[in-house]
């Protein structure tokens, strides 16, 4: 792994991110709108119900879901940038290795995520006087687990995009939301029908959201939740990168120029 090349990839997408309005809106605008919408909704629900911590549960769920969603679009949208700007052939006619490309994108993804989390947490605190760090130090491993799953989703979306090309580019934004209902972001898993519960317990995100609710509602998160989530994440991420690599090679065999 060549650090200069990883930094080159980081810079390439960083330059786009700091200029592209839609990239900036992903970091600031949409999280802000979500927080405003869900915050006010949860305040109203609290006034109608006995669950005192509901706003905090919903807000923390929202911030946590931003982490998954942020990760789920990062890789695939960066890939689409290369399609749109006819740069894929340029990029891979350099010494750049596939793994360096991935590492550079992940580095930027982490950086953008840190900004989104800081911004979101600040907004939640300023608007609702709520501290999403109430979950304590569990926040860090939880966040790590969530972003890893976001990347897994993004690698799967990228695998499809690089194989099939432009015609399915919408999948980059759609695929993340497919996992939201099963991850039990805003409600307990018990709410789901039985068949959906089976799917939910196969997702690493479900354990994190369940654990988060346990802590916020006064209990403690079973340590096993974190370890199961981490184990599933590692398996899925490796599988997703493997699938992406396979799709990339298949696509390279057909010619990267056809994607531009």
């Amino acid at each position: 792994m060549n650090r200069s090349r990883v930094y080159g990839v980081f810079l390439r997408y960083f330059f786009v991110a700091k200029k592209g309005l839609h990239q900036l809106s992903d970091i600031f605008y949409w999280p802000f709108v979500d927080i405003l919408l869900w915050g006010l909704t949860s305040l109203w629900i609290r006034s109608q119900s006995d669950i005192q911590n509901l706003p905090l549960v919903l807000m923390t769920g929202l911030i946590f879901w931003q982490i998954v969603w942020r990760g789920s679009v990062d890789i695939s949208v960066n890939l689409l940038q290369e399609f749109w700007q006819r740069n894929l052939v340029n990029l891979f006619s350099t010494p750049l290795k596939f793994r360096e490309w991935i590492a550079g994108m992940l580095l930027l993804s982490i950086s953008k995520l840190c900004i989104t989390i800081t911004f979101g947490t600040l907004v939640v605190y300023l608007l609702y006087a709520l501290n999403v760090f109430t979950v304590g130090w569990a926040f860090l491993p939880f966040a790590a687990s969530l972003i890893i799953f976001g990347w897994t989703i993004s690698f799967l979306a990228s695998s499809l995009i690089i194989y099939f090309g432009h015609k399915i580019e919408m999948i980059a934004w759609m695929i993340g939301f497919l996992f939201a209902p099963f991850s039990a972001v805003f409600y307990p898993v018990d709410v789901l029908p039985e068949w959906a519960r089976a799917i939910a317990w196969c997702l690493p995100t479900t354990y994190i959201f369940q654990g988060m609710r346990c802590i916020l509602l006064g209990g403690s998160c079973p340590v096993s939740y974190f370890w199961i989530s981490l184990s599933l994440n590692i398996i899925y991420l490796i599988a997703a990168i493997f699938i992406f690599r396979w799709s990339f090679e298949k696509s390279r065999h057909k010619g990267l120029a056809r994607l531009e």
């Binding site: 700007q85 894929l88 120029a257």
Partner: protein, 308 residues
């Protein structure tokens, strides 16, 4: 024995499985150090496909590629540190400025002082003042020149150029050709070059490979290829002795065309002096004489015509 800078053996690309289409079929050639090699052929002959395979952005069906004696498929990244590419058909991220784009590419090649490398080239191509402008604000010709800067600022040993002058005005094209020859002279780099501008190829290339339907049909000096399909054209404006001239040409079975007082003959280079001598002895006088060399364009047109 010194191995060639680039060695290609039996390169083949077949697309599809149900209805396979062979785009490149058993192409073999060498590119020597300091050589400028033209890769020519009509549209769809396999030029770009070959270049894409040589870059690794298109998988090969079979065959071997060696750069600097090393297997390209095993040492791609290491090899690409010394190989660069420019094409009219690709672009650079248009929201990024020229400087930002070159900075990213410089990182890929581990270049530390990127400005020291890029500024002289940007200046050479007349786009230094646009360094901080986004690529989207550049004209097609300026983007093409930027692609050349990108290809050359990394000090490559081999440059693959896919129609690098296609979108350029004639004067800028000429300047680019001059630049390529300068670079070759200065650094001894090897260039593989595709173009549809035959005059440019004849001027620039040491050797020319002609592809047709994915197969090499000729590999020779540009002038030899030109001579293989067309003769020298000798054009005379006759003042006195037109009938004698025609009679002489018919007797010697020399093909000619006639337009008013201008007669044009197709001859081999060596036949011209004795032919003119014979006309002089026959008392023919002419007001003007023009000799047109066989052109690579004639060769190209003949190949293209055959493939239609």
């Amino acid at each position: 024995m010194i191995s060639p800078t680039l060695s290609v053996r039996n390169l083949r690309k077949i697309y599809g499985k149900k209805n396979p289409f062979t785009a490149v079929d058993g192409v073999s050639f060498d590119l020597k150090e300091g050589e400028v090699l033209g890769l020519l052929g009509p549209n769809g002959s396999g030029k770009t496909t070959t270049i894409q395979m040589l870059l690794g952005t298109l998988g090969v069906t079979s065959g071997q590629i060696h750069y600097f004696g090393k297997d390209f498929f095993k040492h791609r990244s290491e090899i690409m540190e010394k190989v660069s590419f420019a094409s009219t058909y690709t672009s650079l991220p248009y929201v990024l400025t020229i400087a930002e784009n070159l900075r990213c590419f410089g990182q890929f090649y581990g270049i530390r002082d990127i400005e020291a490398k890029t500024n002289p080239l940007l200046d050479r191509f007349g786009i230094l003042d646009k360094k901080d402008k986004p690529v989207s604000s550049l004209s097609a010709g300026q983007i093409t020149r930027l692609m050349l800067v990108k290809a050359f600022f990394t000090d490559p040993k081999v440059v693959l150029l896919d129609e690098p002058t296609a979108s350029l005005d004639p004067d800028v094209s000429l300047d680019v050709c001059k630049f390529l020859l300068e670079q070759r002279e200065k650094t001894g780099l090897s260039i593989l070059f595709t173009s549809h501008k035959m005059e440019e190829v004849a001027e620039l290339c040491d050797r020319t490979i002609f592809l047709k339907n994915g197969v090499i049909i000729a590999d020779d000096l540009p002038e030899n290829l030109a001579k293989s399909v067309s003769s020298y054209q000798l054009r005379l404006t006759i003042v006195d002795g037109m009938k004698r001239t025609i009679a002489f040409a018919e007797k010697k079975q020399i093909p000619y065309t006639l337009e008013h007082r201008v007669i044009q003959f197709s001859l081999d280079e060596t036949e011209i002096p004795p032919f003119l001598n014979s006309l002089m002895q026959a008392g023919v006088s002419y007001a003007s004489i023009q000799i047109k060399e066989p052109s690579l364009e004639a060769y190209f047109l003949k190949i293209a015509e055959k493939s239609q």
